[in-house]
């Protein structure tokens, strides 16, 4: 099975607004793999352990994302591809997914594309379904259990808003995963060592079959008008007595009024 896992690097630590310039300041420029994407990598490695094949990591972002790709290789993925170019900058979910889909087409003959449920910075969960549409293949989002049947059929359990769904899909397909799916494995010393021997390929727009009007800022319908720190509504709090049973008695009597 040829599995592509789309991973994103997200900032570690708090991101704040500069009170003067109103720009985002990242207190720590370091990045790490989006935590949900580790669940996707884990799912891919487990499927490979069952069915054989290969696990390829795919990311779109600046060259600094290579550190996260190396981390994913250290978990046990086989190779990595980074889509990196100034032309991809400023992409929203539509343009990001379009670019990733072009990368997946170039990788070729992919059976399964895995995503995290959402990135913790953009927090949209949109990229997976858009890639599925761009590749014209089925999607299963929010997977919390994946079973491999035959060599190319997955039965996926999916938790909806008030129901549990079981969906059967014949590959190729897109699946996005919840954290409940698995416990991502740690990078072990051997894998960390071999991760530096594994290949990380970098492609720019010149390597991909793309319509330039669909990538980067030009291909992004959404515009961020303003970024701000909201005024927090604070309440007038009543302090309850230090003695717990007095506190509870007072609370219950006031709540009942």
């Amino acid at each position: 099975m040829k599995i592509v896992v789309c991973i994103k690097q997200v900032p570690v630590g708090a991101v704040k607004i500069d009170p003067e310039t109103h720009n985002l300041v990242r207190s720590n420029v370091e990045g790490d793999i989006n935590p949900y994407d580790r669940n996707a990598i884990e799912a891919a490695i487990q499927l490979k352990e069952q069915a054989g094949g290969e696990v390829i990591l795919l990311s779109m972002g600046p060259d600094s994302y290579i550190s996260s790709l190396r981390d994913g290789l250290a978990m046990g993925a086989d190779s990595a591809v980074l889509l990196s170019s100034r032309a991809f900058g400023g992409a929203d979910t539509l343009a990001t997914a379009y670019t990733l889909a072009a990368g997946i087409k170039k990788i070729g003959n992919v059976d399964l594309i895995l995503f995290g449920r959402q990135s913790v910075d953009a927090d949209t969960g949109q990229v997976g379904p858009i890639v599925a549409e761009d590749l014209a293949i089925p999607q299963i989002t929010f997977a919390e259990n994946i079973e491999l049947h035959d060599h190319n059929v997955l039965v996926v359990k999916r938790l909806l808003d008030s129901a549990v769904q079981e969906v059967k899909v014949t590959l190729p397909a897109v699946v996005s995963v919840r954290a409940e799916l698995n416990q991502p494995r740690y990078e072990n010393p051997l894998n960390i060592q071999t991760s530096f021997e594994k290949s990380v390929t970098i492609w720019s727009e010149k390597d991909l079959d793309l319509d330039n009007s669909q990538i980067g800022q030009a291909g992004s319908p959404t515009v961020v008008r303003k970024v701000y720190a909201p005024d927090k509504a604070t309440k007038q709090m009543e302090q309850l007595p230090t003695h717990a049973s007095k506190a509870v008695t007072q609370l219950l009597s006031e709540l009942n009024n």
Binding site: L94, T124, K168, P221, T222, Q236, M237, A244, L251, L252
Partner: protein, 320 residues
């Protein structure tokens, strides 16, 4: 192209997802004269328009087909695309539920327009639908718009707005023309409703919420007892979802549930923004924390400085 503001009506089985009704009320409040249209896809045995009508949209567009009992995301997006692209409304709102967050982006990709996820507010500024969403997990909001593409799409967080019925509204009901296309290679094998013992925390009237300062078996058992006595549910902050006892389903906050109980009791929760955005619509908030400077107190009506355990013991003792 038309200037209407559309709201997608999600069905959970035959029941209307409450967020869709909240969004119809919200749409009516912000529409500034634009018609509000509810978009509904249902099977032949469902009559959700009867419920939707009570919330007073100007029009309900109904897609009827028996495949809508258990459609795949792709099938739903394809059917909605046919109707949406034939009208190109000004705006299109989805609930930021699992279904909304799965189908809306697939539809967005077909429409090649913008979509903002998980908005906490939406309003018009001229022709632009301003979509307000939290970002970067931290104390940051952003306003996103989609100036040159229509419809302007957003998913909106559940329980952010109230649903209000409208009496005597004149609601036009239209049957949409479309063709249901079955999607190849994928099949929904089964869909089982989750029985309400694991009822949705988002709908609970009373919530006892546990944070890292209450993460021990004894305190958890007491909290469960207190919740049972009060007729409420136990919710958790994110760190507790690592405890096998709890899952994401009971998580409160930005990446969990927005709750709107009449009474919320926070135990050992520090009050990080990602948590507090989920409790903004709670009625009375009581917080218990050993640290008198914990930020949670700033959003509380009652505060108790002390341990979760001592407070819960007294509470369990006192409630009949």
């Amino acid at each position: 192209m038309n200037n209407a503001l559309w709201v997608y009506v999600q069905l959970n089985g035959q029941k209307v997802e409450p967020t869709s009704l909240q969004l119809i009320t919200k749409a009516r409040q912000i529409a500034e004269g634009r018609p509000v249209v509810a978009l509904l896809a249902e099977d032949l045995t469902t009559n959700a328009e009867e419920t939707v009508k009570e919330y007073g949209p100007d029009e309900i567009i109904v897609l009827k087909d028996d495949h809508f009992t258990q459609p795949t995301d792709g099938e739903l997006a394809d059917a909605l695309f046919q109707v949406v692209s034939a009208n190109t409304p000004n705006g299109l709102l989805f609930p930021a539920t699992v279904q909304g967050r799965s189908v809306a982006p697939r539809l967005q990709a077909k429409l090649r327009t913008g979509l903002t996820a998980d908005c906490l507010d939406v309003y018009y500024d001229g022709e632009d639908l301003i979509q307000v969403k939290p970002t970067y997990g931290d104390d940051i909001m952003c306003e996103i718009l989609c100036p040159d593409h229509r419809p302007q799409m957003a998913t909106v967080r559940p329980n952010t707005f109230n649903a209000e019925k409208v009496t005597g509204a004149n609601v036009k009901i239209t049957t949409a023309t479309f063709t249901f296309h079955s999607e190849a290679n994928i099949e929904v094998v089964s869909e089982k409703p989750i029985i309400s013992s694991s009822a949705n925390i988002a709908d609970a009237k009373i919530v006892v919420a546990l944070g890292r300062g209450a993460d021990n078996d004894k305190t958890i058992a007491l909290a469960e007892k207190a919740a049972a006595k009060l007729g409420g549910m136990v919710g958790v902050s994110r760190p507790l979802t690592d405890n096998p006892k709890f899952s994401h389903e009971s998580q409160i906050g930005q990446s969990g549930n927005t709750i709107a109980p009449d009474l919320l009791i926070n135990l050992g929760v520090s009050g990080a923004v990602q948590y507090t955005v989920g409790i903004e619509n709670a009625g009375k908030v009581v917080s218990v924390n050993t640290d008198d400077k914990a930020p949670i107190f700033a959003v509380s009506d009652f505060g108790y400085v002390g341990t979760a355990n001592e407070f819960l013991e007294a509470l369990v003792n006192d409630i009949k």
